[in-house]
Amino acid sequence: MSGIAGGMWTTLKHFFTSLTQPVTVQYPEQRLPLSVGFRGLPRLVYDLKNGDARCVACAICASACPVGVIHMDTHRGEDGRKLLDRFDIEAGGCIYCGLCVEACPFDALTMTSGFELASYNRADLLWPKERLLVPGTAENDQNMHWIMSGVEKMGKTPPSAWPHAAQDIGVMDEVPEPPAEEAASAADEAEKVPAGAGSAAE
């Protein structure tokens, strides 16, 4: 019986230590901090300065996704740039692998620490771009860079293809216009880079 007594003693000891030093936390009220680079739902980043989403609609993320949950519709704008009509992520099918964030050459996607994505109906699990937008705060950018470190980055953050989206959904009051020459050069880059990277992502 000594073996059973030894086990009982262990549990008894832990019963008393757990009164003062519990191992568990009271989850919904009490939360443990998540680590930097936590892979939650992929989100679109908009710039804090001008409210532009950084996405240029190159669709590299959609082709990098192993389960194909990123859906994108685009059209060419007047200035020849691609504009996003639709950017949806099926949260119900996303496997949180982070490959889209690693693939994005424009720092336009990050993953947030949100993991409570349950919903009462299926339609709510389709996240449109308005819902996916998060500000490009230092915290979000840091998270993004942790997720994609190890993959060579081009490291540029062009202005958005749909600049007033942030304004439209009311997260920003005024969207300042970027200087003309900067916008033009950025448009060139936006055209060049996805062409090269797009073939790489294939």
């Binding site: 019986m1 000594s2 073996g3 059973i4 030894g6 086990g7 003693w9 262990t10 549990t11 191992v23 998540l34 680590s35 930097v36 680079g37 936590f38 892979r39 990098a64 996704c65 192993p66 496997i95 949180y96 692998c97 982070g98 490959l99 690693e102 993953m111 942790w146 997720i147 470190s149 190890g150 993959v151 060579e152 990277a197 073939s199 790489a200 992502a201 294939e202």
Partner: protein, 379 residues
Amino acid sequence: MALATSLNASEVISREGSLITINMGPQHPSTHGVFRLILTLDGETVVAARPVMGYLHRSVEKLSESRTYLQDVVFTDRLDYLAAMSTNLPYAMALEKLAGIEVPERAQYIRVIMCELQRIASHMVAIGTFAADVGTFFTPLLYTFRERERILDIFEMCCGARLTLTYIRYGGVSRDVPEDGVEAIRRFVEIMPDKIDEYERLLTNNEIFIARTRNVGILPPELAIAYSVTGPVLRASGIQYDVRRAEPYGIYDRFEFDVPVRYNGDAYDRYLIRVAEMRQSVRIIEQALRDLPPGEIKAKLPRLFRPARGSAYARTESPKGELGFYVQADGKVEPYRLHIRPPSFINLTALAPLLIGHKVADVVVILGSIDIVMGEVDR
């Protein structure tokens, strides 16, 4: 006894003379997933057993042929989901062999640390659920999960996920271990030997545990070899075979560790082997942490990974046994064929001969002692 009552729930489906055929599973709490076992019983004694697998088949091998090499990494997470690191590794190694990639030193050390942490975590689940199958009702399980949580926290620091890690990639690992991650691993290694002692105090000398597991499900060494059984199940049958020692991969030849072996081949020995392996894994992590060099974590690779035509096979010692990946490439961005040798599946083939002659209540004990993960069995 509680296990017997849960068996009664899966109804008797046919009677032939005095023999009864019952279905255990696919929805049975002690089959560790959707695994079905057709048992023919004479009273309480098993006279025939037929395992039925495939309820969790997701056709991973076929799906991989239509995804790029990088996208296939996420499938490997979902094979043995209790040991995603250990399943990432042979796939990465097979591709590195195929494309002739040199893995940086630091990445090699990180791989060893992560895989050994994962081995500890997997054995914790194995021991905890095995004890729950025997009838301890989750006390040891909660103790092992307390430390498993720390391992998952370390994984979260290193790769942002806790279960489906996608961490070990061809060419290295996906990101570097942060400073606090190294510190967390160091703390974990310090406390772990005491915690293993604690699990042992709960189980190893417990008379009821011994009565339920000793001389139950004896696997003789000849039979183990005949069925190609690997991992802790094989080593409990008296054969000292470990891929890390028999054919050292990565940098495993640099570490000092023992390959534990026991000779009875029963469920109790399989438990003891797992405990001993956890101690050895702690030893390996200690050495790897001591030597962890600075430097690159990923080999320089072209953005488009397209290995030339050819094939490669890599095998590793996963927590469950020998895990092999065979990759055949035809110069495209996706593999032409991917074949997986899952240890759980092959160990499970030896289940039927183990069960014959035992009582129904021992069936769950034997199944628990083999430690299967259905994600890997059915792929």
